[in-house]
């Protein structure tokens, strides 16, 4: 997936659309990441000044949630479920097979809600059931 490059004016207009929300910090970070693929370093100060909260508060939220990222998103992302139901179906070996075999960022997630069709993975946003290296490679094409 490709995302537009960071643009503080666009970011400001995204934040403006959230101004009426009673708890805007997390949704602001999420909205910026959805648009730009990550949270740019300038975003912290921007959110802090827009919503009149401290930078420390914004930074605290940014670093708490596993999913928020501060580096640009790679072109391809593979998330492999590393939780118990998928472990029971070989997720550990799938993880090591996939790492190194694909030119994508490979990371772990904990349960994708597809535990009856384990192991599960997500390739560039698409959920794969009964995942294998071959299926993941195919999806990356």
């Amino acid at each position: 997936m490709t995302y537009p490059v960071w643009d503080s004016q666009v970011a400001e207009s995204i934040l403006a659309s959230l101004a009426s929300d009673p708890g805007p910090v997390l949704i602001s970070l999420q909205a910026l990441q959805e648009h730009f693929g990550y949270v740019h370093s300038e975003a912290v100060a921007l959110i802090a000044s827009t919503f009149n909260v401290s930078r420390a508060d914004v930074h605290g939220v940014l670093t708490f949630y596993h999913e928020l990222r501060t580096t640009p998103a790679p072109e391809h992302q593979v998330h492999i479920c590393a939780a118990e139901a998928c472990q029971a179906m070989g997720a550990r070996s799938l993880q090591s097979e996939v790492e190194g075999a694909v030119s994508a960022e490979v990371s772990k997630v904990y349960c994708l809600g597809n535990c009856a069709l384990a192991p599960a993975a997500v390739v560039d946003g698409k959920l794969i059931g009964r995942a294998t290296l071959a299926k993941i490679v195919e999806e990356l094409k």
Binding site: G23, G60, V61, F64, A85, C111, C115, L117, A118
Partner: protein, 514 residues
């Protein structure tokens, strides 16, 4: 003629979209007039992709199908109910469904998820109608009398929580639905939201009108994009039809619903961390008191319930508390939506009264392991739940019996492992997961879990019996400290999978091979 192909994310994860495309193309090629309906899944994930046709008012099923089967299905005139090697007969009569007792999930998978008319034709909104004809006290009493307990994990009686919120005086109250569903082995919240979102909306609306809350939030984990879209779509449809918003159904009650999305944090499923997260903050656990029922979201009285708890309410109101409470056993009344997962042949949703044995669930419905190798371990209740061995197959699946057996029901997920599992490895994972997901507030949870991983690694790699014994006793001490010194169940219950693994599978903790 109507053909149904599920659009559930699990069905799509193994190719349902390709089947829908192939059916459309094949029908056009052969000049067969069809109406393709994308329904939700019925929860038999082992039969996905389950294609259905409507013939003479009856639904006929075929499965599990792949796109490669489509041409032969047309050859067999499946659209007229023709016979084919994948024929399963009438859907309702498939044993796996027929043996269930679907109450909360009665509408799941029948229609297209956003088809409001279809929803109403299957009894939808009868519960809200009933609720609006009763006093607030009477609605809460109905929920109390049904015996409904929280399905999110703790099993607290829903009616008592509602009563507290009803009795609280405030200018604003909230209803928050916990749809964080972080437990491994669980997916019922997701399926309900994707396949039958109006039932959850109806349950939340009943909760809101009963206690005087005019705003609701559904906190859905980000791993569930399709559930998020389905809920947002259904909220729009319900709002346009007057079932949400101002003066719902002409009752004078207002109720607005908002979706909030998580950001990949297990601990945000704990109710107070969820409130922090909805408020846009770090998902750190709040100390109780105050109870969220009195000072919850933005400091206001708040009902917090799991998806399945709220989704059970419409049926309770529509059919009466007594009908619901007639199901189940002891203090576990009504039905439980079990989720069969992991190394299992027939995985999916099994809704049935509490009190079914574990054996009937995983061998009867589940058909044993997927690999066909001997079953060795069963984890019930997610990452904080115990590991049982096959000697526990007779346990009755209800809140009290599971606790008595040294486990817990949690959110109703049941995960099977075959003989290849190493329980020391699983115990190590439990500690690792706790260290990754800890909110950081208490030392036993934050640091103890890391020490736990190190200790188990030592046990696994040691060849010295004395050292192994010493590390095991250290591990047990650590479990005790975590259990007693943690503010919430993240740190407090991580010892459960660890200790149950140690107790039920001692041979996996004997160190490295000599």
């Amino acid at each position: 003629m109507k053909i149904f192909v599920p659009n559930d994310s699990a069905a799509r994860s193994i190719g349902a979209d390709a089947i829908a495309v192939a059916i459309t193309a094949e029908a056009a090629k052969r000049g067969v007039a069809i109406e393709l309906v994308r329904n939700g899944t019925r929860g038999a994930l082992w039969l996905e992709t389950l294609v259905e046709v409507e013939v003479g008012g009856e639904r006929i099923a075929y499965g599990p199908t792949t796109a490669d089967d489509v041409a032969s299905l047309f050859d067999a005139k499946f659209y007229e109910g023709g016979s084919h090697p994948l024929s399963l007969g009438a859907t309702e009569k498939i044993e796996w469904f027929a043996k269930q007792d679907r109450v909360t999930f009665s509408r799941v998978g029948v229609n297209s998820p956003l088809d409001l008319e279809g929803y109403i034709s299957l009894g939808g909104y009868a519960g809200l109608k009933k609720a609006l004809s009763l006093s607030a006290d009477a609605v809460v009493q109905e929920v109390l009398d049904s015996g409904l307990r929280g399905r999110g994990g703790a099993g607290f009686p829903a009616g008592i929580k509602w009563k507290t919120v009803l009795g609280a005086q405030a200018d604003q109250k909230y209803v928050c639905c916990n749809a964080d569903e972080g437990d491994s082995g669980t997916f019922a919240d997701r399926i309900l939201m994707e396949a039958d979102p109006f039932t959850l909306i109806e349950g939340m609306t009943i909760a809101g009108t009963a206690v005087g809350a005019t705003i609701g939030y559904i906190y859905i984990r980000s791993e569930y994009p399709d559930a998020i879209a389905a809920m947002q779509g259904a909220i729009t449809v319900a709002t346009c039809a007057g079932y949400l918003g101002k003066n719902i159904c002409g009752s004078g009650n207002d109720f607005d619903l908002h979706v909030r999305v998580g950001a990949g944090s297990y601990v945000c499923g704990e109710e107070t961390a969820m409130l922090e997260s909805i408020e846009g903050k770090r998902g750190v656990i709040r100390s109780k008191p105050p109870l969220p029922a009195l000072a919850g979201l933005f400091g206001k009285p708040t009902i917090i319930n799991n998806v399945l708890t709220l989704a059970s309410v419409p049926a309770i109101l529509a059919d009466g508390a007594a009908a619901y409470a007639a199901r189940g056993v002891g203090r576990s009344l009504g039905t439980q939506i079990f989720q069969l997962a992991g190394n299992i042949k027939r995985g999916g949703i099994v809704e049935t009264g509490f009190g079914i044995t574990l054996d009937a669930l995983i061998n009867g419905f589940g058909g044993g392991t997927f690999t066909g190798k001997p079953l060795r371990a069963i984890q019930i209740g997610g990452p904080l739940g115990a590991y049982f061995g096959v000697e526990k197959l007779d346990v009755s699946m209800d809140y009290e019996s599971l606790i008595a057996a040294g486990g817990m029901l949690g959110h109703g997920g049941v995960v099977l492992f075959d003989e290849s599992v190493n329980l020391a490895e699983q115990a190590k994972f439990a500690m690792e997961f706790c260290s990754i997901e800890s909110c950081g507030k208490c030392t036993p949870c934050r640091i103890g879990s890391t020490r736990g991983v190190e200790t188990i690694v030592k046990i696994m790699s040691s060849r010295d019996a004395a050292e192994i014994a010493e590390q095991k006793s250290l591990l047990l001490d650590l479990c005790e400290v975590m259990r007693d010194g943690s503010l919430c169940a993240m740190g407090g219950l991580t010892p459960l999978p660890v200790k149950s693994a140690l107790e039920n599978f001692p041979s996996d903790f004997e160190g490295a091979a000599k």
